[in-house]
């Protein structure tokens, strides 16, 4: 981990969980906000993120169960700590520096582990966390440690990591980082991508014991 200030999650948790004891479905969005995303891509990404929040809010169960966190890179920054959609104030993401994807993913994995500790302390049930990476570039940092952590995490069922490459993304490297086949975004169909994410999270957050979740097909936004 580099000099990025890791924001520790607040130790004060009891009230939130007493008020809302629903099982949690945590999802970290790891979003590339490097210079190359400026213009249309970042606008579409912002619109998609807003739509995701709105759609989750409209779902009575998902709004209480899905917890979103947002990590942008670079530099790696925790823009939004884990919270349910009703508690998240919408804010536009801005384009910043380079593409330290390796560090961002390691940060996200850390975040997920910390969050699980919080759930366990609070006695809150939870679903397998999702880490959802969207990038249009090539990592500008060393990503081998991240790739190793992803492999370990996927193998031990600690989380599921999905990687989406926007046009210009280094799919080859992405493939080496993610265990699951990375998906290439068709054009700038962020709206469709986030709708898929919202539907998938809704499915996961209401799945009951040992339902293997049938995720909707990524039609409409994935390049085949």
């Amino acid at each position: 981990m580099t000099s990025t200030a890791l924001v520790k999650q607040s130790p004060f948790i009891a009230d939130v969980f007493a008020e809302n004891p629903e099982p949690r479905c945590p999802c970290v969005l790891v979003l590339d906000t490097s210079g190359s995303m400026s213009g249309q891509p970042i606008d579409q990404l912002n619109a998609g993120y807003q739509a995701l929040l709105t759609e989750l809010l409209e779902d009575a169960l998902a709004s209480k169960r899905v917890e979103l966190a947002v990590v942008t890179f670079g530099p790696v920054k925790l823009v939004q700590d884990f919270d349910t959609p009703d508690m998240i104030a919408s804010s536009d993401l801005e384009v910043t520096g380079d593409t330290p994807m390796g560090e961002a993913i390691e940060f996200a994995i850390d975040l997920v582990h910390q969050r699980k500790d919080v759930y366990r302390q609070a006695g809150i049930a939870y679903y397998r966390p999702w880490i959802f990476v969207i990038t249009d570039g090539s990592p500008t940092d060393s990503w081998t440690a991240a790739a190793r952590a992803v492999k370990e995490g996927e193998a031990s069922n600690a989380f599921s990591l999905f990687a989406v490459g926007v046009e210009g993304a280094d799919m080859k490297t992405l493939k080496q980082i993610a265990v699951r086949e990375p998906i290439r975004l068709r054009g700038l169909r962020f709206a469709e991508l986030f709708r898929w994410l919202s539907n998938s999270l809704k499915s996961v957050s209401r799945s009951t014991t040992a339902e293997r979740i049938a995720l909707p097909a990524p039609t409409g936004w994935a390049e085949v």
Binding site: P23, G123, Y126, V204, S207, T209
Partner: protein, 272 residues
């Protein structure tokens, strides 16, 4: 001699309706007299959402469990932990037979199983999977689960009767003090009936509010009118808002002859 008044119901979850699936929970309530002594057998089961024949699985599991328990009691009055495990085993075998007949795999019949066998000086409980069996304590308003719901790390993971190590992972207990009231419920109600603060516990208030109508029933046995009311209650929007999964609840209260129902009852059934 004790006699039991019982209400039971299963309600299809809104999500099942949306997906075109039936209610995949099942329950059974049986009364038997063996050697002049009354026995009560209760069971609930939650068919796994992933299992293709979940509905058949849960129905078969509760029936086979109750059949085997009755057979044990008939042949040799009494219920031990070992016999209770045999009842679970018999239910598992029944699922395997069903699977064989259907040309399917036993995992297609995956379901949980919670059972209670109650007789004079015996209260035997068994559980595989999630949901819970709740019993009344000695103090009024004190409720506790017999076994913590079996969960994996994640909220949508549990153990099933169809699992390889199902019988080894089963929770079984036999008490000689028979609780005055017993409730069984499936996973669909866990979210309402189990609180996590400060530690995981059952919501006693819910049972305080749900049992009075059952206590007021004059005649022992499964009360049909009460079952209908219970089914209606489990389907109310206030409950559906907390769970869109199938919801099953059995409430059994012991009517002591010559003893009037407790006077501390309140009339309402409300969500805690």
């Amino acid at each position: 001699m004790t006699r039991w008044s019982i209400a039971a119901a299963a309600t299809v979850g809104e999500r099942h309706i949306a997906d075109g699936r039936p209610c995949e929970d099942a329950w059974t309530v049986r009364h038997h007299i063996f050697r002049g002594e009354p026995w009560l057998i209760l069971a609930v089961s939650d068919g796994a959402g992933t299992a293709g024949r979940a509905q058949a699985g849960s129905a078969c599991a509760v029936a086979a469990f109750a059949d085997e328990a009755a057979r044990c009691l008939y042949s040799d009055a009494g219920m031990t932990a070992e016999r209770l495990r045999d009842c679970l085993g018999a239910a598992r075998v029944a699922l395997a037979v069903e699977a064989g007949l259907a040309g399917a795999h036993i995992r297609d019949f995956a379901c949980t199983l919670l059972g209670a066998v109650i007789g004079p000086g015996t209260a035997a409980f068994a559980q595989i999977g999630d949901g819970a069996i709740v019993v009344a304590g000695d103090e009024p308003g004190s409720w506790a689960w017999m076994f913590e719901p079996q969960k994996g790390e994640y909220a949508n993971e549990t153990s099933f009767l169809t699992g390889e190590d199902a019988l080894a992972s089963a929770s079984v207990a036999v008490l000689t003090d028979v609780p005055a009231e017993i409730a069984l419920f499936t996973d669909g109600l866990e979210n309402l009936l189990i609180r996590t603060q400060p530690a995981r516990h059952v919501v006693g208030q819910f049972f305080d509010q749900m049992f009075p109508p059952v206590r007021r029933v004059a005649d022992p046995g499964l009360d049909e009118a009460l079952c209908e009311h219970l089914a209606g209650y489990l389907a109310t929007p206030a409950i559906a808002a907390r769970s869109d999964d199938d919801r099953t609840l059995i409430l059994a209260t012991c009517l002591l002859e010559g003893v009037a129902p407790a006077a501390r009852e309140s009339e309402t059934c409300a969500i805690p």
